[in-house]
């Protein structure tokens, strides 16, 4: 430093030049109006898009988000798959990290540009997004798209046999998750539990998935067996309505709940192992006897839980094997036989007595069962196929799908020939088609509506297409043409249809005049539905049991109009799937227990 530092004196003076410049200050009236497009301000929740899964509340490390019941004036959906709760944010806790936005599976919760709130009242900082700022929709700033979301919207792909490989045999198509895949898939679940309500059986889905995610597969199996004694069957063929309402499914692929259940159950290779892992608590015998007709899902469920509760249970099954429709109606490439055997074997080990090849009405009278037991559970299912209702239906090579599947599963031989037409769009139709494809047939499915209207699972439809099944939508069969002999099917005539939108209902197919076509076939498989056969019940009882359009009427504990008779399964509910049957069985257990233990003790 020199003695006299002129530069050091003068150069700072350049700073004075700022005097003449415009101030950088923003005018008061424009202050706060130019927030960035991504600013993390107040929350906005689209109340109708929100499903109330509560994920925002879970991720919030400050416990700032409460799930609250909003007044009816906001028209919050209370449907299944929607908890009816909506988040409310405590701005005395929030730190605007926006993790709640990034984990919102539906993308309904977002942040807005608005951030300015001052108040002398400390209690006024509770903010219900969407209610307090209905205008927030136009101010969205920090949002989360499928790409930026923290949720993993893509399912871990299930390994399957190749389509060309599959048709060669009845080997199981789906290979199942390995441990790593299962953990990864399980960790996609956000444990919101919306699925449990939709599940007819209310399985503890978030709990067992969480157990898998945490690596406790044994616990997972135990949780599963808490209200489902045939989980492996469910893990393979369940209609899984749970996945439809999965929170992740709103914007992505649902968590593979079914495959995870399958993973958890497949680990127990034998029925002994199941018993070892599940190790259920069996209560002391209470001396009551329950007879169960039909070893289908509902019957077995009732039998298992009754046995656990100390009842003496006997099951009467007409066929050679247990499992009912799951045994005979589902092709083996979906549900291998030994899998069912294993599960039924476990039930028998617990103490369920099953009398196979015992057809009620033939081998034993219903009356006898009714009198011998303190309660009777009817789980007979739908075995009698519906008629197609077209000319030529009764020809030799026209066969109902259930009958066809039963024969194949029973290892009976039925030659479908080269060309097969399947009529119907349900799972049974697809099963029929795919089984036929495995017999080297060229299969066409005729369905009245569009492909997207098919009640069958999309996975099944895709699987069928992979295997070379041709799906012909909007085709209504008109008549079946016999060959020269008049005994066998030669061709089928159908008419094409167009979809006519109808108010308040799904579109209806209307035939297009003159669009009739004829294709040559070797076999026609009809799969348009089934119904129950009550012929085994003697008349005195039939009159006691109230029926409604072919179904047994029960109360919410599966009790029929005859207090001693309970019923479940396809014969009762309209959903016609295994899990509903299991749910019926489970409910009936409670009903029977309540009836017997409460009334008589």
């Amino acid at each position: 430093m020199s003695f006299f530092d002129l530069k050091g004196l003068l150069r700072p003076l350049t700073g004075l030049s700022q005097f003449g410049k415009n101030p950088h200050t923003k005018r008061m009236d424009v202050l706060g109006q130019d927030t960035a497009d991504r600013y993390r301000g107040f929350h906005y929740n689209d109340l109708n898009a929100c499903i109330g899964c509560g994920n925002c509340s879970t991720i919030c490390m400050n416990e700032a988000i409460d799930m609250v019941e909003l007044a009816a004036e906001f028209n919050i959906s209370q449907d299944k798959g929607n908890s009816g709760l909506r988040p409310r944010v405590d701005y005395g806790r929030c730190c605007w990290c926006a993790l709640c936005v990034d984990v919102c599976p539906t993308g309904s919760l977002n942040l807005t540009k608005e951030y300015d709130y001052v108040s002398p009242d400390a209690n006024s900082f509770l903010w219900t997004p969407g209610v307090d700022n209905p205008y927030g929709k136009d101010q969205l700033s920090f949002t989360s798209s499928v790409e930026t979301s923290l949720m993993n919207f893509e399912r871990i792909p299930m390994r399957e046999l190749e389509g060309t490989e599959r048709v060669k045999s009845f080997a199981e198509v789906v290979l199942g998750y390995n441990e790593e895949e299962a953990r990864a898939e399980a960790s996609r679940c956000i444990s919101c539990s919306l699925c449990t309500e939709v599940c007819p059986d209310h399985m503890h889905i978030p709990e067992y998935i969480n157990a898998i995610a945490k690596g406790n597969d044994d616990d997972a199996l135990r949780i599963i067996y808490d209200n489902n004694p045939l989980p492996e069957m469910c893990g393979k063929v369940c209609t899984r309505r749970c996945e439809d309402v999965c929170a992740i499914a709103v914007r992505g692929e649902a968590v593979a709940i079914r495959w995870l259940k399958r993973y958890a159950t497949e680990r127990a290779q034998t029925s002994d192992l199941i018993k070892e892992i599940v190790n259920p608590e069996i209560q002391e015998a209470n001396g009551y006897k329950v007879g169960i007709i039909g070893a289908g899902p509902s019957g077995l469920t009732a039998a298992y839980y009754l046995a656990l509760r100390g009842f003496d249970v006997t099951v009467f099954e007409a066929k050679r094997f247990g499992g009912g429709m799951t045994m005979y109606g589902i092709p083996k490439y979906r549900l291998p036989m030994d899998s069912l055997d294993k599960q039924i074997g476990y039930l028998q080990k617990i103490g369920v007595k099953i009398n196979f090849n015992t057809r009620v009405g033939t081998d034993i009278t219903f009356d006898e069962i009714y009198k011998k037991h303190d309660a009777v559970f009817i789980g007979i299912g739908f075995e009698k196929p519906w008629k197609l209702g077209v000319e030529g239906e009764d020809l030799e090579n026209s066969i109902p799908a259930v009958e066809y599947l039963r024969m194949i599963n029973n290892e009976e031989i039925f030659d479908v020939g080269k060309k097969v037409v399947v009529i119907g769009g349900g799972n049974v139709a697809i099963d029929g088609a795919r089984v036929a494809a495995r017999h080297n047939a060229e299969v066409t499915i005729l369905y009245r509506r569009r492909v997207e209207d098919m009640p069958a699972d999309w996975e099944e439809i895709e699987g069928a297409e992979d295997e070379g099944v041709h799906i012909h939508p909007q085709a209504i069969p008109v008549r079946i043409i016999a060959d020269e002999s008049g005994k066998k099917v030669k061709a089928i005539e159908y008419i094409e249809a167009e979809m006519v939108a109808e108010e308040g209902a799904r579109p209806r197919p209307v035939p297009i005049e003159g669009s009739n076509k004829i294709i040559e076939v070797d076999t026609i498989i009809g799969a348009i539905g089934q119904e129950a056969d009550y012929s085994f019940i003697s008349e005195e009882y039939v009159n006691k049991i109230e029926l409604n359009r072919g179904r047994i009427v029960t109360n919410d504990q599966q009790q029929t109009s005859d207090a001693k008779i309970f019923a479940g399964g396809d014969a009762v509910n309209r959903t016609a799937d295994a899990i509903s049957a299991i749910a019926d069985g489970f409910r009936a257990v409670k009903g029977i227990e309540a009836m017997l233990l409460k009334t008589k003790k």
Binding site: C53, G92, L126, S193, I223
Partner: protein, 192 residues
């Protein structure tokens, strides 16, 4: 010798030659662990500082392994030449934990020891430093110990604003609505 050793492996070997029974582990690039006994630590630090060029002290932290009843002290030192972070780890008994004072090797350790003494209750005999560091008038257990429950303390000491009592649990609500009974053993897997 045909094999070439990485710098991390060389360090591990050097340490093992110098100290018998010392377990070392090359964890990843630039990171080497040495699991030392309580008595070895100061000599390892001194050796690394004087002989191996680990002249920079980086970090001293304490980890509470409540389940095994131990505290783990982790000394991290760094060398400007090899650029390796050397973790010297040692375990102390959780009952009456005490550790040799090492602040003469690096004066900086002094501050860390003050913190660990206050937050974990680990004693460093012979170490000079004011007793109170971060806390003031603290009467409870050393707060960083895992068995000190901060939420419980908060509930006892502080207030919470009212007006949020109407919150509901999604899981409970769904279960109630559908009549589902969650078995007790499964509840631990429910969402918190």
């Amino acid at each position: 010798m045909g094999t070439t050793y990485s710098k991390e492996e060389i360090l591990a070997q050097q340490l093992q030659t110098a100290f018998e029974h010392l377990i070392t582990e090359v964890v990843r690039k630039d990171t080497v662990f040495a699991f030392a006994t309580k008595e070895q630590v100061s000599s390892i630090l001194l050796y690394a500082k004087e002989k191996l060029g680990y002249i920079s002290f980086v970090h001293l932290s304490c980890v509470d392994w409540l389940e095994s009843g131990e505290f783990e002290l982790v000394y991290i030192i760094w060398s400007p030449e090899t650029k390796i972070n050397l973790f010297v780890k040692t375990r102390l008994d959780r009952e009456n934990p005490s550790m040799e004072n090492t602040d003469m090797i690096w004066r900086q350790i002094n501050t860390y020891q003050r913190e660990i003494r206050e937050m974990f209750g680990v004693e460093f005999p012979g170490f000079v430093g004011e007793k109170e560091f971060i806390l003031e008038d603290w009467e409870d257990a050393p707060p960083m110990r895992r068995d000190f429950d901060t939420l419980e303390y908060v509930n006892d000491t502080f207030f919470e604003r009212e007006g949020r009592e109407d919150k509901q649990d999604v899981r409970e609500r769904i279960a109630k609505r559908s009549g589902e009974e969650i078995p007790d053993f499964a509840k631990k897997y429910s969402r918190e």
